[in-house]
Amino acid sequence: MTPAHGRFKIILTLILALLLTVLPVPEPLDNFRPDWVLLVLGYWCMALPYRVNIGYAWITGLVLDLLLGAPLGIHSLALSIIVYIIVMNHRLIRNISLWQQALIVGFLTMLNKLIIFWAEKLLFDISITPMYLWSILSTMLIWPWIFLILRKIRRQFAIR
């Protein structure tokens, strides 16, 4: 099996996550948009930590910055740190139940959001609203489904 096996599928799921992040939704739902990129990237880093790690995170973060019109490097920074934590603890995360994983994902989403906020705070005089943190909840709730779907994809195409 070539080392590049399945790379296309991994990238495709990441592109889909990026697309869902910029997809316009009605105003009331916007605050509950799950952090799709963190979910998908988090799964691949947990499942294949030797293949998908900080390199993927940095590039994905850069594309996310470009898509959202954020200062370049902000999302790269946050995702690199989050992915580092996941890869360092991938054995632990793999062996706990789905809802415990969801709690960890919730914690990581919050950390991700706070890093982004702090980094932007260095550049602009912005303030945080409670609305900004609502999506942590939706990200936690959707983690089990993302996990099951991506695991099915991984097993179906035997991506190792």
Binding site: L19, P24, Y50, L66, P71, F124
Partner: protein
């Protein structure tokens, strides 16, 4: 399977490089103007994703356009015909005034306003960074859009271009926290700066002495100072002028004239370089 890195120290090294690279990007991108050229290419590379994200709302728009009833359309046509008629009549007067204004300005040795190049762009509805107020429009560097270009609509000033790709660009709205626009009060020509507040419908005017003659309801128009926005376009109306004893300045708040949450089309104007010799002549006099 051959692991990419043997030990976890290599992972820490990767994190170290990623953090250094991110910080240098953040600094380069926000502090150095020369980096914006690189951004044009990067933006162009990711533009297919932006257009893909816009497809669902384009389709919805298409559906809502096709299910309009015949009666509504008829009503719309009648209304627009009437509106056009009234505006044509006003245009006759406007032409006359324009000529007169040109002659008077020539008499006063003031620079003459000439027709500027204009372009209409449509808003692309995509999600953007939650910490900045911006919209994406469907015109880019290929249409001649440049960074710092003023963006208006039929009501007044919308914002300015901050980011360009080949086929789309980003408009920073006037109420963004990092945006400031030089204005003057239409009633008495008092000059001020209107800063964005970070909330869509609010601007603040800093450093206004408490004795300044500004009242709620005053209209602020662009002053033309600063060189980004042309003179005389409506920006905001004053909603609150408040002075508390002991404070060095008054607290002045304004509301943008353009309904920034509902814009669909914007107008881009080009600074006409052909009429600058007039200005130069005036300055050397």
């Amino acid at each position: 399977m051959k692991p990419i890195f043997a030990t976890s120290t290599s992972l820490q090294l990767r994190l170290f490089f990623a953090v250094i690279a991110s910080f240098s990007l953040i600094i380069f991108d926000s502090k150095f103007d020369s980096f914006s050229n690189v951004r044009v290419y990067l933006n162009t590379a990711v533009s297919p994703l932006i257009y893909a994200a816009d497809i669902p709302s384009e389709m919805l728009k298409g559906v809502s356009n096709t299910v309009v009833t015949r009666r509504d359309l008829k009503k719309q046509v009648t209304e627009q015909r009437d509106k056009l008629f009234i505006q044509q009549v006003q245009l006759l007067e406007f032409k006359h005034l324009k000529e007169e204004n040109k002659r008077l300005r020539a008499l006063l040795n003031s620079p003459v306003h000439s027709d500027q190049r204009k372009l209409v762009a449509e808003i692309i509805t995509v999600n953007t960074d939650p910490f900045s107020l911006q919209v994406v429009i469907n015109k880019g560097a290929l249409d001649g859009i440049y960074i710092g270009q003023p963006v208006l609509n039929e009501q007044g000033v919308v914002g300015q271009i901050v980011d360009v790709s080949a086929t789309y660009s980003r408009v920073l709205l006037i109420s963004d926290i990092s945006h400031g626009i030089p204005v003057r009060v239409q009633r008495n020509d008092i000059r001020a700066i209107a800063n964005g507040s970070g909330e869509l419908n609010s601007l603040t005017l800093p450093y206004v002495p408490h004795s300044t003659d500004i009242q709620a309801g005053d209209v602020l128009v662009t002053s033309g100072l600063g060189g980004v926005f042309p003179e005389g376009y409506p920006v905001a109306t004053i909603t609150d002028f408040n002075y508390q004893m002991g404070q060095p300045y008054a607290q002045v708040e304004a509301k943008p004239i353009v309904a920034l949450e509902r814009i669909r089309y914007v107008l881009l104007i080009w600074d006409d370089k052909d009429n600058t010799p007039d200005t130069d002549k005036e300055e050397t006099l």
